[in-house]
Symmetry: C2
Subunit: 123 residues, 2 copies
DNA sequence: CTAAATGCAAACTATTTGCAACGAT
DNA sequence: ATCGTTGCAAATAGTTTGCATTTAG
């Protein structure tokens, strides 16, 4: 556990949202100006492999990262790209019943139009 | 509808799997050697916007493309990266009940270990 | 002490884009 | 004829990597 890794973890804990690697890098530099972008990417990858965090592949733009807590899905607006958590119940259980083995994790992205984008379209 | 676009569509129809843009490009060149990589990418993006096909963001490597038929999920093996379709029932209905608006599409990737990778680990 | 992690910069992969020429309608 | 689409090549975005140096355990 290096200082760099602790800092990255801390930033993710304090930050509610879904940060990209570069956003985490920028926040990290505020507290540790010498930290390298590569270090951030390397640590995020390691933490993902340890399943301390989850990588969210986005329809547009860079990946985002989520500290893994309760499994949940994401609502993605095709209009503006906004992202929100959404609870999902029973999915893992159902899938495990079908495949007969453990689900290690899942990524669910629901594409929809958020209220703001919907009202823009109807104008 | 250009010859190029028709060819790309046809390759996707004939090909059962989950091709990457470059795999489609390679197959397209067999029948139309002059086709440009950019043309393949452009058409795939347009077809995705028209929702004729779906883009699958992969945990590793390039995106893959799926001709959209019945909505379904994907089983991704964290060991070897293999990808398989899996039926999903009731998910869209459940989500729409929660969010109160239409689900345009979704992407569900279940991470697991396929039988082959599981038996390698236990050795 | 030593194995693992860092900083730096260069390399790489996947994808996008500007532009002149071409082709579908 | 016109406007969207192509081929080409260069550009970009995001991420990874090699290597000498530093740091944690």
């Amino acid at each position: 556990m290096t200082r760099q890794r602790a800092l990255i973890l801390n930033i993710m804990r304090e930050n509610p949202g879904h940060l990209t690697a570069d956003e985490i890098y920028a926040l990290a530099r505020e507290q540790m100006p010498g930290i390298a972008r590569g270090t951030v990417y390397r640590n995020l990858k390691l933490m993902e492999q340890d399943r301390e965090i989850a990588k969210l592949e986005m329809p547009e733009g860079p990946d985002r990262f989520d500290k893994t807590s309760a499994p949940h899905g994401h609502l993605y607006c095709d209009g503006c790209g906004s992202l929100q958590d959404i609870p999902v119940i029973g999915l893992v259980r159902d899938i495990e019943a079908v495949i007969g083995t453990e689900v290690r994790s899942y990524q669910l992205t629901i594409h929809y139009l958020c209220p703001a984008c919907r009202s823009k379209l109807s104008q």
